[in-house]
């Protein structure tokens, strides 16, 4: 499709895509290719990066391999990011579609419900949920999904509200097509573009959320994550600042790459934004 063509022309978006590709490779194959483990204490603590060739990024407060931590951390970040976003989409898209398509009291009820979620400070809600249900990778993913679905519902509702009066939808009604058919085959395919863009941005914010939770000590204790690494290094920031610095850069680069990709998708899918306007 020519979406990929216009996307590939966007150099900045391609940089983002490239970074993500490398990350996915690292997440999938890293643990098999690199010999270190993140949890074992392998050497003396506080070895700075680039000093020891067996530990290219040094060791942390307990003598654990920093590079191994980064590689394993990539896994959890991407996994949590992707799955929580998928769940949020599964909740938000049907809700928004029904609210936007049927309108009336269905819309009222669903929107009040969404509003309650949007009023509550989302990070605080995530903290509360993970704390009460004990931090595991499942509760974290679930909590992030639960705080992330309202914007999806809002967006989809908006799209359906504007598209349901389009003439081709009216033609479909005249054809005798069922409501389900119209929602799935007429409107949804035409509202995918903004949803895709939103999804890429949601993965980014999910990763930020997960690292924030881990930083506060609410990460899964059996899984090494970037946020945890930063949190653990908080008290020793004066002696070993790189222990907080390096994982943070990893997070920032990942999120940035996702944002660039999202922006690129936005421009590719909405050509009118790129500034070409006929008279």
């Amino acid at each position: 499709m020519n979406v990929f063509k216009s996307l590939s022309r966007n150099k900045v978006a391609m940089v983002g895509f490239g970074i993500l590709f490398i990350l996915v490779v690292i997440a999938l194959f890293g643990p098999y290719l690199y010999d270190g483990t993140p949890w074992k204490m392998v050497q003396r603590p506080f070895i700075p990066p680039f000093e020891n060739s067996s530990f290219p990024l040094g060791t942390d407060t307990l003598g654990r391999d920093v590079l191994a931590g980064l590689i394993y951390g990539a896994r959890i970040s991407l996994l949590v990011g992707l799955i929580s976003t998928a769940i949020a989409l599964l909740i938000g898209i049907p809700l928004g579609a029904y609210a936007g398509y049927y309108g009336g009291w269905v819309d009222e009820v669903l929107m009040r419900f969404t509003e309650i979620f949007q009023t509550v400070p989302s990070f605080a809600l995530a903290v509360v949920l993970v704390a009460i249900f004990e931090p595991t990778v499942y509760s974290i993913t679930g909590a992030i999904a639960i705080v992330s679905w309202p914007p999806v519902a809002r967006l989809v509702r908006g799209e359906f509200l504007s598209l349901r009066n389009q003439e081709y939808v009216l033609a479909a009604k005249l054809n005798g097509q069922s409501n389900r058919n119209i929602i799935l085959r007429e409107i949804l395919p035409n509202s995918l573009s903004p949803i895709i863009v939103l999804a890429s941005l949601m993965v980014a914010s999910a990763i930020l959320l997960e690292s924030s939770l881990s930083f506060l000590g609410l990460g899964d204790p059996e899984i090494m994550s970037w946020g945890y690494m930063i949190g653990a290094a908080k008290t020793v920031i004066r002696q070993a600042w790189w222990l907080s610095f390096i994982p943070g850069v990893a997070i920032a680069v990942t999120v940035l790459a996702l944002n660039l990709l999202g922006e690129g998708l936005n421009e590719a899918l909405n050509p009118k934004l790129s500034g070409n306007r006929e008279n």
Binding site: A131, I237, G248
Partner: protein, 327 residues
């Protein structure tokens, strides 16, 4: 103030109250959903060993009674601002939260104002220099700040400006060990405020900058801007009198919705900077496993957001003449 406005405000208050009620009920069931004895959950790690305290809690919350009775007790307590007691500080939860509230209000208020003004300014400059160097610089900077984790940025800023350069304090709200009054006190708090407020606000600065930029560019393409130019207006006047006001509307709307996010960010910022607000209180509650306190902070921060939303709704109606209050 017209009758319509009063009715509108009344309606929104009722709506807000309903939201808070739902959150309260949610909190109630959340405690019951946690693994273990609800009394021990309410008591927290420290209080769970104290049998007398546990018995007190059971009576206070009616934990041996049927569920609907417990709910009734919980809600009516809440309406009287009774949220139970935190064992470690031996204080009513509500009082403890109110004690820490001003610090958070100061921090989030400063962050909000800073981020909005800096963000809008940056966005306007970027839009004015569209497709030129300045635009690229601002856009890239916004993208970077948008992507960096808040807590990490706070730590790095603290490391650089406080530890390395020694310009600013990195701990707490006031200098420990001295008692200051009057303007000296204000200045001291101000110095302590700079790093936390800026790092908390940077994420939102990026958001507002990008949104303002896009909004300015899009608004400048609208028909009425062409009309303004056709009147022979100077570009500066076109920007200030026609583009700016219209372009800022969506930004202001967005700013209003960000209140909840700011409080979430405050949790992280206050933890890094040991700022004595309710965000840090939430962190302490986590460490102490004091879920009653945790949910108390959660509830109060939701109430703050509801109030804030109401205020912004009313302001928005005043600003945009197209909105009719009766709707």
């Amino acid at each position: 103030m017209s009758v319509q406005t009063l009715l509108y405000i009344g309606g929104r208050l009722v709506k807000g109250a309903v939201v808070l009620l739902v959150i309260a009920v949610f909190n109630f069931f959340l405690i019951r959903a946690a693994p273990g004895d609800p009394a021990k959950v309410l008591a927290g790690e420290a209080g769970a060993t104290d049998e007398i305290f546990l018995q007190q809690l059971r009576e206070q919350f009616g934990l041996d009674e049927p569920l609907y009775y417990q709910l009734w007790v919980y809600i009516s307590n809440l309406m009287q601002f009774d949220m139970g007691i935190t064992y470690r500080q031996q204080m009513p939860v509500f009082d403890l939260i109110m004690e820490r509230m001003p610090a958070t209000l100061l921090l989030t208020g400063a962050a909000f104002l800073l981020s909005l003004s800096l963000g809008v300014l940056a966005g306007v400059i970027a839009a004015a220099n569209h497709r030129k160097m300045m635009d690229s610089i601002i856009t890239v900077a916004a993208l970077i700040f948008y992507a960096t984790p808040l807590f990490w940025l706070a730590m790095m800023a603290s490391l650089f400006f406080s530890v390395y350069l020694g310009w600013l304090p990195s701990f707490g709200m006031q200098t420990v060990g001295v008692t200051l009054t009057g303007w000296e006190k204000v200045a001291d708090i101000g110095m302590h405020l700079i790093l936390p407020a800026t790092t908390l606000g940077l994420f939102f600065t990026a958001v507002y900058a990008r949104m303002t930029r896009t909004s300015m560019i899009e608004t400048s393409r609208l028909d009425f801007v062409k009309t303004a130019k056709a009147k022979g207006m100077k570009p500066s006047r076109v920007t200030t009198h026609h583009i700016l006001r219209n372009a800022l509307l969506p930004v202001v709307t967005l700013a209003g919705l960000q209140a909840g996010q700011l409080i979430g960010g405050a949790v992280l910022t206050e933890t890094v900077f040991a700022w004595p607000g309710i965000g840090r209180l939430m962190f302490e509650a986590l460490l102490q496993r004091d879920y009653n306190l945790l949910l108390g902070v959660f509830f109060i921060s939701s109430a703050m957001v509801v109030l804030f939303n109401l205020i912004t709704d009313v302001i928005y109606c005043v600003v945009d003449p197209r909105i009719e209050l009766s709707k």
